[in-house]
């Protein structure tokens, strides 16, 4: 009996020790910075909740940190659940803004009116991310490809890297006799949407599938989850090729120059920004909305057409002044020159052009309290 009693006591002691360990102290200041409270005087306050694209996570980290330290009373929280989840959250009122790799679909725009008032929701571009065609060839770091060849590679029609179609575009480059392993995203993603949109528009004779966030399941190939997943697979597999956000493509991989018009465009932030500038507004939206319809089959030289434009989706009206002030302050910062630079430093995203920033700012200024 005594032994049992003692056993029980020790058991209780262990549990209690665990509970004590729980209450150990931690700090919210890993960077060792001095956040002087109220440095910028009476700014906005409150908590702003956003849900959305996981690809925006890195840029959002930078934005919420900088915004929080400039406005000591304000907090921005962001959950990277996914673009679709973000749009849903804005529509059902779970979040004040949604982060999305695509602007609202027409039916979503209609259903957002219940939450956002008759003027609906606003799509505000927050950064551009050029999508690189990255490949793992031991000796080759640069390749020139056109839309048809690219489509054929990803459809599995081109079996080896020294295929005549690739060789014809790359005179003087020694191509290895290596099996082509196309790697696509296994998850539904904005990157796939934009890449297939480009292929369907620029090489309609080869790419017969519709543009979609899900890779056509009829095509056999390797895939992996997430940008980091595909980059890792391609880095590990000689002969593999994928499409991925340029910021995540490491120096070990080569990137392709894409044929636009008569010349080949190297991927760059400037070339990507040109693609966004050359876009047209989407019809049937709020007057100040900034949804961009990109021209994928453009012939304008110097434009890199495979880009993804990431948006913040906000309501045109909110229930109270405090939320309006908070949303306006945050989004104005995001599209400001400083906000764009902060995101570029942290996430290596391509900044919006000043023209586009002006349009976005105008849309943000139109946000008001629900009548």
């Amino acid at each position: 009996m005594k032994a049992i009693r003692f056993g029980r006591l020790s058991a209780v002691a262990v549990v209690a020790a665990g509970a004590l360990a729980l209450s150990a102290c931690g700090t919210d200041n890993p960077t060792g910075s001095n956040q002087s409270p109220g440095a910028t005087g009476a700014a906005v306050s409150g908590t702003l909740t956003g849900i959305g694209s996981s690809a925006q996570g890195a840029a959002m980290d930078a934005w919420k940190t900088a915004f929080g330290s400039a406005n000591s009373g304000a907090t921005v929280q962001y959950s990277p659940d996914g673009s679709g989840a973000g749009r849903k959250a804005l529509i059902d009122g779970s979040a004040q803004f949604g982060g999305s790799d695509a602007y609202l679909k027409d039916e979503e725009y209609e259903s957002a009116k219940a939450q956002c008032g008759p003027d609906g929701a606003l799509n505000i571009p927050v950064y551009i991310s050029p999508i690189a065609v990255a490949f793992n060839l031991p000796e080759v770091k640069e390749l020139k490809l056109d839309a048809e060849t690219l489509a054929n590679i990803f459809r599995g029609e081109i079996a080896t890297w020294n295929d005549p179609a690739i060789a014809a575009l790359n005179p003087g480059v020694t191509l290895p006799d290596l099996k082509v392993t196309p790697v696509n995203r296994s998850d539904d993603s904005g990157t796939t949407t934009n890449f297939t949109e480009y292929l369907a528009a620029a090489a309609p004779s080869v790419w017969t599938d519709k543009a979609s966030g899900v890779w056509p399941s009829s095509l056999q190939g390797e895939n992996a989850k997430g940008t980091s997943g595909v980059v890792k697979v391609v880095t590990d597999t000689p002969g593999a090729v994928t499409y991925a956000d340029d910021s995540a493509v490491s120096g070990k991989l080569g990137t392709a120059q894409i044929k636009v018009g008569e010349s080949f465009t190297t991927i760059s932030a400037e070339a990507a920004a040109k693609a966004a500038d050359a876009s047209t507004p989407v019809a049937g939206r709020n007057a100040s909305d900034v949804s961009l319809k990109l021209d994928r089959s453009t012939k304008t030289e110097g434009v890199y057409p495979i880009v993804l434009v990431s948006y913040h989706i906000v309501c045109s009206t909110y229930a109270d002044q405090k939320t309006v002030d908070l949303v306006k302050a945050f989004e104005s910062y995001v599209v400001s020159e400083k906000g764009q630079k902060d995101a570029q430093d942290a996430a290596k995203s391509a900044p919006l052009s000043s023209d586009l920033r002006a349009k976005a700012k105008k849309a943000i200024d139109a946000i008001k309290v629900k009548a």
């Binding site: 056993g7 058991a11 930078a62 940190t65 929280q77 779970s94 979040a95 980091s228 995540a248 996430a347």
Partner: protein, 368 residues
């Protein structure tokens, strides 16, 4: 060997048995033959081990069959297979643990890993860490705290409900239609995909409390939906195998049924129940998707599971691996993620240990 009774060394009793050195001789033969067999396609230690193990089993069992006969040989074969199964099971364990240790220890040893959150850590710091060799900053305190609180709450909900249900099933149900229905539907519940449990809890609180209710408690409810069936199922099995003699002895002494259950049945089964509960905790403590949709994603410390978003180790690991803080330099994020994974494993180990101590304290002494 002669058959005379006075033969020295081996008596009649040990005749027809393999000598004590038989396994060692077989092993030596197997190692040599194994090396020879593997040398043909190309020598690897792994292939050598596998080939030797197979040859050992063949040699040892055949020898036993020749000397001892079929029954003993079957016994030896079974022993070889059982030990082999154990060794095979160790392979992935060692491999996974090794991977996590190698990748996780650098993260664990980073100063501030346990005492800071990820508040304010942006890609700029990670880029600097990689490009200029600076320290990797940011820690898991917020996530560790969140995981402990969410899991504790989920356990507080699931264990009483699960245990009481299994008591109902075993002690009171007695094949009543209701008991049969519960058993059946508990089985069905084990098949709920974890994301569905999360969405269900999120939708429930959306309706009851309001849009966008995401707290640690909601996550605990979601995890409970996943935990309860595991608790019920395992404790039901454990209660079932408590011998009826014990119950009857207790009743015969005039002890009431509920006291019999609390004082006799549960203590007898407590070791199994505790291991079931640990399994259930282990099952949910690593869940990512249901926590993301119910508790949100925080980078700061939140001390209250009833208000505000809460971080957790799995969501931390998941986002750090799949969406690094700096997309162009994922190495610091990987380091933090593997470090957090190691912490999560150690955490479950400790829980397991606690469960065992608790079980040992309450369990009666049995034959084994």
């Amino acid at each position: 060997m002669t058959t005379t009774d006075v033969a020295p060394g081996r008596s009649k009793l040990t005749r027809g048995r393999l000598p004590g050195f038989a396994p060692w001789v077989s092993l030596a033969v197997a190692l040599v033959l194994g090396a020879a067999a593997v040398a043909v396609p190309g020598f690897t230690p792994f292939g050598w081990g596998i080939a030797s193990a197979i040859i050992f089993a063949i040699v040892y069992v055949a020898w036993s069959r020749a000397v001892e006969g079929g029954r003993k040989a079957a016994d030896k074969l079974a022993t070889c297979l059982v030990v082999g199964a154990f060794l095979v099971a160790l392979l992935p364990l060692v491999s996974v643990i090794w991977t996590v240790l190698v990748a996780g220890i650098p993260g664990l040893l980073t100063p501030g890993f346990f005492t800071t959150s990820m508040n304010g850590v942006t890609g700029v710091f990670d880029n600097r860490a990689v490009e200029e060799g600076g320290p990797v900053i940011g820690g898991i305190y917020h996530a560790l705290l969140g995981t402990l609180m969410i899991t504790l709450l989920a356990t507080l909900i699931s264990v009483p409900v699960g245990l009481l249900t299994s008591i109902y099933l075993v002690e009171y149900g007695q094949d009543k239609p209701l008991a049969r229905a519960i058993t059946f539907f508990v089985d069905v519940m084990t098949g709920i995909p974890s994301i569905v449990a999360g969405l269900f809890a999120a939708a429930f609180f959306f309706l009851v409390v309001g849009p966008g209710t995401k707290t640690g408690f909601v996550a605990a409810v979601a995890l409970s939906v996943l935990m309860i069936p595991v608790v019920v199922r395992s404790s039901e099995e454990m209660l079932k195998i408590v011998p009826n003699e014990l119950r009857e002895a207790s009743y015969a002494l005039g002890v009431r049924k509920w006291r019999t259950i609390l004082k006799v049945v549960i203590p007898t089964a407590i070791s199994g129940i505790a291991s079931g509960v640990t399994l259930a905790i282990a099952r949910v403590i690593g869940e990512t998707a249901p926590i993301l949709v119910t508790a949100g994603f925080a980078t700061t410390i939140n001390n209250s599971p009833f208000a505000g978003w809460m971080a957790s180790l799995p969501t931390f690991i998941y986002t750090q691996i799949l969406n690094p803080t700096s997309p162009s330099n994922p190495a610091p994020s990987d380091q933090r993620a593997w470090g957090a994974a190691l912490v999560l494993i150690i955490l479950v180990m400790l829980l397991n240990l606690v469960a065992r101590i608790v079980a040992k304290a309450f369990a009666p002494k049995t034959g084994r």
